[in-house]
């Protein structure tokens, strides 16, 4: 196995770049796939968590005796049963499975009961007496930062400052001073949540041999495995974590939650299987969604529209716990230095603890909010300078093989092509001039990471590994720790394995996300799976392909390289009439080598970022690029914004499976649209910090009728770091949605929407403010209305 550097073999099995039926979709459509809540074990108990009704309260006492005395109740646990603090980021363990001394937000868990059935468990919750001493809550992040002597989180070391990052590259003040134009803006991004349709669910059981098995709707089985081991004080080799098929995640299932620890502890205590399914209300209170951010931006430009420098000041409202907050705080600045090149950059981000459900990562972690601010800044500058906003962005493209101001190395870059595609498809040039008052087009661009350069806990082991085994019937089994959360990663692995081994997808079985069966993978976050796990899979599949070709070549007495694997056969390239079914080829290989199994590992290159502290956070092996054009119609009487169409062009390096990539782009654009127009995850300080509508009716997400036309335009700029050149497609395409819509609203009616979401009252208020200026003669009318017929 010498020639490990041979070029990717696109032509090999013909799978890459095609359209595929997903390997596991039909069973989902027939209703026979077993998601976590579909699992049922003999003598299974049901658990429910008692939650705090106060936003900030000391727990004086908990009396569970009346609950325990109920028939059908088997156990009650409280914070004292699971006192070890944990956190997804090893440096910030600041939560416990159930509250120890204090509850930090409405909905914080204080006790958990296991009973014969859920009805009994719910009745038992009412019988658990918790005495609270109610404390003053802090809802505003800036007030919380001021209140240094009133730390919300008992594990916090710096009052209510959860994390602070200040990084400066170049002399920002000098650069801004010398700029022809400096645009200043204040932006506010309301928090939003994931709202996956499957609520969180976990089931635990101690197997007869003593191994604790936890099935959970998680997107990070490996990290859950580690944290379970820590909190339960059980060695990791006594725990098995299985992620059943998952009903959506979007970042909302990317860290351990109270329910996983609770079912595990209760299963250990009772000796019976224990399941817990969140109600929809609990999903909202568990949250970990997008951080509210208050952002102050100064951006400098030359006369011809070149960005000179960016100065950003951001306050993140973190909620009660750290979650991924350390990373979010870095990401709020670090991910902004492409696709545009500029010479000076400073960002100062502070994350505050508040008495709200904790914020965390949501699709486009940390960078969707600042991207909104920066892209609106660009639009304001383009208008001031009289430039076309697309031309201006083309002019600022950092290009490929570039180094960003914060010292990240960019490989392939299809950003300009993305801009050209959305310009052509939307009819930008003609339409933008012609659209009357009330109608408008807006553009925005972005970049995103294809995985993070370093794992969450420092180690030198591979970040991804895949094992593939061939069997004598002519099939392959792919073992991968990666979490398929609906994004199609199981199919992606089958496409790569099938491409290399010449197998149709139905002959490939992907077994994923089971810590007993599969090699470790770090999980479905930071858009890492296609690049990292894909590379590991490619390596394993190539090893097997070479061994199979070798065995066939030996029997045909031809060099290995004359043999190719395609369409279920081994074929002589020079004499295609000579071929043999893969089952037979695999048997020849097994006769020569023993069991045909190979592993592939992937680790990131370590030379793609700066050496400064924090320089590794946000660095990625490869970056995706996106551009959106949005077309809107704004009703100036009602303030209603109707988004008609979003054209989304995304550089995914190479589309391994085209419809799956399109689906990611469409789903991303939809989710960004939703955040722009209707979603806000808030708690109401006027009502004791409760969520004003923790349901899928009150927290409005777009229906079939609300969602605009979505036009997905795949751009392929292959990256040397990705498998067959592939980069991410699952998160990047969300970023420009919001600023493209904001910029389109300006084009339509001449008002800048700098606060999210763009609800009718906000739009109306902005229109009225503009009308007053027009009446006073300080502003000219925005653009002519359509001629009346």
């Amino acid at each position: 196995m010498s020639d490990t550097n041979e070029m990717p073999t696109h032509e090999t099995g013909g799978q890459v770049g095609g359209v595929h039926r997903k390997v596991d979709a039909m069973e989902r459509m027939r209703g026979i796939t077993r998601y976590t809540d579909d699992l049922k074990l003999p003598r299974m108990l049901h658990a429910k968590i008692k939650r705090c009704p106060h936003p900030h309260a000391k727990i004086v006492s908990i009396d569970a005796s009346a609950a325990l005395a109920m028939p059908g109740v088997h156990a009650v646990i409280t914070g004292k049963d699971l006192p070890t603090p944990y956190g997804i980021i090893p440096w910030t363990p600041d939560e416990t499975a159930l509250c120890l001394e204090k509850a930090l937000h409405v909905g914080d868990g204080v006790a958990c009961v296991a009973a014969d059935d859920e009805d009994t468990a719910i009745e038992a919750l009412d019988k658990i007496e918790v005495t609270y001493e109610v404390l003053e809550p802090l809802f505003d992040p800036e007030e919380a930062l001021e209140a240094r002597d009133n730390p919300i989180n008992p594990f916090s070391r710096k009052g209510n400052l959860s994390k602070k990052v200040l990084l400066e590259f170049g002399d920002v003040d000098a650069v801004l001073e010398q700029s022809d134009v400096v645009v200043e803006g204040d932006y506010f991004f309301e928090g939003t949540t994931h709202a996956a349709i499957e609520p969180h669910c976990a089931l635990a059981h101690v197997e007869p041999g003593g191994v604790l098995t936890v099935w959970s709707a998680t997107q990070v089985s490996h990290y859950l495995h580690r944290e379970l081991s820590k909190v339960l004080e059980l060695p990791a080799n006594r725990i098995r974590v299985i992620q059943p098929p998952l009903g959506g995640a979007f970042g909302g299932k990317s860290e351990p939650f109270d329910l996983e620890f609770c079912v595990a502890k209760l299963a250990l205590l009772t000796g019976r299987p224990v399941k817990l399914l969140y109600t929809r209300e609990e999903v909202f209170y568990s949250h970990r969604g997008r951080h509210p951010m208050k952002m102050k931006y100064r951006t400098g430009f030359t006369k011809d529209g070149k960005i000179t420098g960016v100065d950003a000041k951001t306050i993140l409202d973190g909620g009660a716990y750290s979650s991924f907050g350390l990373v979010t705080t870095y990401y709020s600045g670090q991910l902004l230095c492409a696709p545009y090149g500029f010479d000076a950059y400073r960002f100062h981000s502070r994350r505050a603890y508040t008495n709200k459900p904790a914020c965390g990562p949501k699709r486009g972690h940390g960078s969707v909010q600042p991207r909104f601010a920066l892209e609106c800044q660009l639009d304001k500058a383009a208008e001031q300078l009289g430039l076309d906003p697309i031309d201006m962005r083309l002019h600022n493209d950092i290009g490929d093989d570039a180094v960003t101001v914060n010292e990240f190395r960019v490989g392939s870059n299809g950003f300009s092509e993305c801009l050209r595609r959305v310009r052509a498809s939307s009819g930008w040039n003609a339409k933008r001039k012609e659209l009357p008052y009330g109608r408008g087009l807006g553009v925005a661009g972005s970049t995103y990471i294809s995985g993070t350069n370093y794992p969450i806990y420092p180690n030198e082991m591979p970040q991804a590994a895949v094992q593939i085994t061939l069997d004598r019937s002519g099939r392959a089994r792919v073992f991968s720790g990666a979490n398929d959360i609906g994004q199609g990663s199981n199919t992606m692995l089958a496409v790569i394995a099938g491409n290399e081994l010449g197998l149709p997808l139905e002959d490939i079985r992907v077994l994923s996300a089971d810590t007993d069966l599969c090699p470790v993978d770090l999980g479905a976050y930071s858009s890492r799976i296609t690049l990292m796990v894909g590379n590991a899979c490619l390596e394993a599949a190539q090893k097997l392909r070479r061994a199979v070709c070798e065995a066939v070549g030996k029997r045909w007495e031809v060099p290995r390289k004359r043999v190719t694997l395609a369409d279920g056969q081994a074929i002589d390239r020079e004499d295609p009439q000579r071929n043999v079914p893969l089952a037979e080829a695999f048997q020849w290989a097994e006769s020569d080598n023993g069991l045909m199994s190979a592993t592939g590992s992937y680790n990131t290159p370590k030379d793609r970022h700066g050496e400064y502290r924090g320089g590794t956070i946000g660095a990625s092996p490869a970056y995706s690029f996106t551009a959106h054009v949005a077309e809107v119609e704004v009703d100036a009487m009602t303030g209603i914004v109707d988004v008609k169409t979003i054209w989304v062009a995304h550089d995914c390096g190479r589309a391994l499976s085209r419809k799956i990539v399109e689906g990611q782009m469409e789903g991303s654009a939809y989710m960004g649209f939703a955040e722009a127009i209707m979603e806000q995850h808030i708690v109401d300080p006027g009502h004791n910090g409760v969520h004003p509508g923790p349901s899928l009716l009150d927290y409005r997400i777009p229906t079939f009728l609300d969602t605009p036309e979505l036009q997905a335009l795949i751009v392929e700029s292959p990256d040397a770091q990705g498998p067959y050149g592939a980069k991410e497609a699952g998160e990047g395409p969300l970023h420009p949605s919001i600023p493209a819509i904001a910029n389109a609203i300006y084009d339509a009616v001449g008002v800048r929407m700098d606060s999210l979401p763009f609800t009718p009252p906000r739009v109306l208020a902005a229109l009225q403010a503009r009308a007053e200026q027009e009446r006073a003669g300080t502003l000219k009318p925005h653009k002519p209305a359509r001629e009346m017929a």
Partner: protein, 174 residues
């Protein structure tokens, strides 16, 4: 609600109904929903619980051929009626309904959790129209089903495609 009931409780009711063409008799608690009985007593797990309060549509089944939210329907309401769940959708089509095939070809299911409910709503539309449907008709018919993954585009493609494959051509869809 995730638990099976204490079905032996004294106030249990005997439910006689038809599910996917099978005569079913089951002792139920009067306060339990059709969704709870389907999922946790009869192990028909295809109907999903996303919200348990009628907001998301993932639990959509058909009662006497009409789409209904199983989480808002008390199980007793099924007494003497015909219930169809996603598990029975392909019965008349050799196990795979043309909608399921179209969803598969168009990658219209990402996580697939909302898909059973969407299929049940879509099937009712196609059966009612008996002709190729338009995108707008599909949007209207599916407005009660939330999907968080797809942005709906591929689902609409699949529904229109299935209606065309079942009823031929695209004429009549305009």
């Amino acid at each position: 609600m995730s638990g099976p009931s204490r079905a032996s409780a004294p106030d249990a009711i005997l439910l006689r109904t038809s599910i996917n063409g099978d005569a079913v008799q089951v002792a139920i608690e009067p306060h339990h929903t059709l969704l709870e009985v389907l999922r946790y007593q009869l192990d028909l797990i295809g109907s999903k619980q996303g919200c348990d309060k009628g907001d998301c549509g993932a639990c959509t089944v058909q009662i006497d051929g009409k789409p209904a939210l199983a989480c808002l329907t008390l199980a007793v309401h099924a007494q003497g009626r015909e219930i169809t769940t996603v598990e029975g959708l392909g019965d008349a089509h050799g196990g795979c309904h043309p909608l399921q095939d179209a969803f598969d070809r168009h990658d219209a299911a990402q996580c697939g959790f909302c898909t059973p409910g969407i299929l049940m709503s879509a099937e009712a539309l196609l059966r009612k129209c008996k002709r190729p449907v338009s995108v707008d008709e599909a949007r209207e018919a599916l407005a009660g089903n939330l999907c968080r993954c797809t942005g709906y585009t591929k689902i609409l493609d699949a529904v229109v495609d299935a209606s065309e494959s079942m009823h031929g051509g695209s004429e009549g869809a305009k």
